[in-house]
């Protein structure tokens, strides 16, 4: 299936917004996959959002979902 990847902050410097095709069906599986294809991500703290909701536990991904990859927040 195809999902959309958007990235923010420091992570946007090495992962650009793009569509990718994946086999995996959960956010935990996606993390492993992302860390394989973007090795810089492996050493970093980051959170995912699935369709604009912060991922707080392993969640199922469906075709056409949007996944945001976010480094630690630094507003204010």
């Amino acid at each position: 299936m195809e999902i959309e990847i958007i990235s923010f902050g420091k992570i946007s410097e090495f992962i650009s917004n793009q569509k990718i095709t994946i086999d995996c069906g959960t956010t935990d599986e996606l993390k492993t996959h992302l860390e394989n294809i973007f090795p810089q991500l492996a050493g970093m703290k980051y959170k995912l959002a699935l369709n604009k909701n912060l991922v707080q536990q392993n969640s199922e991904i469906k075709n056409s979902d949007s996944i945001a990859i976010m480094p630690p927040f630094s507003g204010g």
Partner: protein, 147 residues
């Protein structure tokens, strides 16, 4: 005074002292208010490894941030007896010395306004998907980290 519609908190560029003055002046018809608490974040000209920060460039995942601050707003209104709550955060390039965050709470007695303001600032910094890129005078940069 819980609000149902999603309010925007983002402003392009710095929060101006005139904007803050207008926001304060708007409250003189709210004569049940006895205390106002304000926090303002200002961009610091930090020196990092010999380089000077000249500005911070803020970006946000706006949809997620606005949903989250809406949730926070409702929780704070439920927790404290507030008359008003106003939150403004800058996006884009904010120069050193300019204001990038303005949090303003008001209540009948002073304590709820003060405590709500402090709690909002902490939650804004830790829970909103906003990122600051520190721009150095030589145009290099590094990503800000909140401590």
């Amino acid at each position: 005074m819980s609000e149902k519609k999603i309010k925007n908190i983002f402003v392009d560029g710095p929060v101006s002292p005139e904007f803050i003055a207008k926001s304060i002046a708007n409250h003189n018809i709210k004569t049940e208010i006895g205390g106002h608490s304000i926090f303002m974040g200002q961009v610091r000209k930090d020196e990092i490894d010999g380089k000077i920060v000249s500005a911070i460039d803020y970006t946000a995942f706006e949809d997620l941030a606005l949903n989250k601050i809406h949730e926070i707003r409702e929780e704070i209104f439920d927790k404290y007896p507030l008359s008003c709550m106003h939150i403004h955060h800058s996006l884009g390039t904010i120069k050193a010395g300019e204001i990038c965050l303005f949090v303003f709470t008001s209540s009948k007695h002073r304590k709820p306004a003060i405590e709500a303001c402090n709690e909002l600032v902490e939650r804004i910094k830790s829970e909103l998907p906003i990122w600051g890129k520190e721009i150095f005078a030589d145009a290099s940069h590094q990503w800000k980290e909140n401590i």
